[in-house]
Amino acid sequence: MRSTILSARWRANSGPWALLCSVVAFVYLFSLGPILITAAVSFNETHRSSFPPHGFSFRWWERALAPEWINPLLFSLKLGSLTALFSTLLALPLAFALFRYRFRGRDALVALTLGPLMLPTLVTGVGLLQLFQYVGWREYIGFTALLVGHVVICMPFAVRTVGVSLHTLPPNVELAAGSLGATRWRTLRYIVFPLIKSGVVAGAVFAFIHSFTDVNLSIFLARPGEIPITVKILGFLEFGFAPTLAAVSVITLLLPLILVAIVERVSGLGDFIYGDRDRA
């Protein structure tokens, strides 16, 4: 009942609503414009980053698929997948501990778990670089250090989504399972784990995306030959042109987009979006 009353009244006096709609249209233009322009530029005939595009060509896309760009892309995919895996694995016990037990150090553990979300990833990157150099792990700077750093900053996402799932378990189902003869382990296995599956998946997806799009931490821990795609693009921007960059950029946007679309279809992500405090 509530929304129909509101919308009916809105429609009745469409002035304010129409004004709102036009403002919103402008905001969408502002938000999506640059991305669409980048996509358009990637089809440019000439090598200038001009818009509207002159002519139409796939040649920059060919260049984008050359090893020079494919390798960092694959590197980021590998890094992102492993990050998602380890983040989720480590997040599970944390989420269980935080959401099902009361204990004295709980607040401290919450702070520790959410810490990487609260501080700039830049700082975490700098700190990790210092750690690896100081302790003499220089040879691990590159993939290993990146993996470690990414897991640290992505774990909180997984903890949060698994936590939301645990939090929204129907209240008495575990008691019901117990009353029907299920031991605590069997209750976990047959009732709890299936019911938190969506939280686990969402956590893995958010972790992957956060890792794939990270730049602030990665710039400090990358190494020639072991460079995530975002850092590589950043490096090339100095040289200005190259709609190749535009093509590569579009690819790096499409990949997470497709991933999210698939997961949303299969298991749904909506419940986990609110409360998502990401960092650039």
Partner: protein, 357 residues
């Protein structure tokens, strides 16, 4: 003498700031349907949880079929529980929900399938086994919860206000159905509710609880006709109360000098303050002062028409209030608001109860 199926001795449950259960002794015989009846917070649900083994008692012992359960966790007690919110497993079909307890007992697949089919049949859900809880109505979910608890053939069936989430009509239907089912299967049952109508209809015995204790336990008629305390009298049905003082073993005198001839329970001394209680449906209204029995003068404040009965809310002399319920038997005799009347009742229908301590 046969061992009772369930026995609670001195059961207590204390939490940090409150005492949920202050001392319960209860025996439930095999096949009996006992209801724990009381307002929210009286400890009835906690007691059920203690029987089920969801948490341990602070004091006291519980015996199932004569054997102490001690610290046994709930999955080792032979019980079946129906929760107020049904607690169905959302990711399993109705049939899989019902089968769960049997799976946990590692029974062979064929037997599980057979028993599940029988159980669904029993609760009139045959054919709906493949549906998920989300696709079922509230009443259907309730039946699945029932089937799930019954199929494992528990020693004791525990029901925690299973009907409170249903609408009135469904509730009335399910009351009778559950009671009938229980009688047919002969399963010892403990039922928790705050709805006295349910308790009266379904139970072999009712234990009325208040503040963590059982105030009175007995058959429904016994509880209704002969409540032992004001709380029980008020909680079941409605009651008129008039205060007075005991003069002799068979007499109570009200503040306005009216003498009521009704038996005074043992243990109440002469001079003690008491309540005289009369059911509204055992009272009637008269235009003139009745010759014998309880007679209180007053005016009609409000008349409520309920179809099969009429309720007359009265303001009595002396400031007390009265309620009289008279059947709508089609006679022309009735009273309007503002009319001066007499509330009349036979002394035989007056109960003397101790004043609240």
């Amino acid at each position: 003498m046969l061992e009772p199926a369930l026995r609670l001795v001195g059961i207590e449950k204390h939490y940090a700031a409150t005492v949920a259960v202050a001392g319960i002794d209860l025996e439930v015989n095999e096949g009996e349907f006992v209801t724990l009846l009381g307002p929210s917070g009286c400890g009835k649900t906690t007691t059920l949880g203690l029987i089920a083994g969801f948490f341990p008692p602070t004091a006291g012992a519980i015996y199932l079929e004569g054997k102490p359960v001690g610290d046994l966790p709930s999955f080792r007690r032979d019980i079946g529980v129906v929760f107020q919110d049904y607690a169905l497993f959302p990711h399993l079909s109705a049939a899989d929900n019902v089968a769960f307890g049997l799976r946990m007992r590692n029974l062979p697949q064929a037997e599980i399938a057979r028993r599940v089919a029988d159980a669904l049949e029993l609760v009139h859900l045959a054919g709906l086994g493949e549906r998920r809880p989300l696709q079922l109505s509230g009443g259907q979910r309730q039946r699945v919860a029932l089937a799930r608890a019954l199929v494992i053939n528990p020693t004791v069936l525990l029901l925690d206000e299973p009907l409170s989430n249903l609408d009135q009509k469904l509730r009335d239907e399910m009351r009778i159905e559950i009671a009938g089912l229980q009688r047919r299967l002969g399963i010892t049952t403990v039922f928790v509710t705050h709805d006295q109508g349910e308790a009266l209809v379904m139970s072999d015995r009712i234990a009325v609880m208040n503040a963590g204790r059982i105030e009175q336990i007995g058959e429904p008629a016994e509880i209704y006709e002969h409540p032992a305390t004001r709380f029980v009298a008020e909680f079941i049905g409605r009651m008129n109360f008039f205060s007075g003082q005991v003069t002799t073993a068979r007499e109570v005198r009200t503040a306005r000098g009216l003498v009521i001839a009704a038996p005074v329970p043992l243990g109440i001394a002469s001079g003690a303050e008491v309540h005289v209680a009369v059911r509204p449906e055992r009272s009637r209204l008269c235009r003139d002062k009745p010759d014998a029995g309880l007679a209180l003068k007053g005016t009609v404040r409000q008349v409520l028409y309920l179809g099969s009965t009429r309720e007359f809310h009265l303001d009595l002399e002396g400031g007390e209030r009265g309620l009289v319920e008279m059947p709508n038997d089609g006679s022309a005799v009735t009273f309007d608001a503002g009319a001066g009347v007499w509330l009349a009742a036979s002394f035989d229908h007056c109960l003397v109860l101790p004043a609240r301590s």
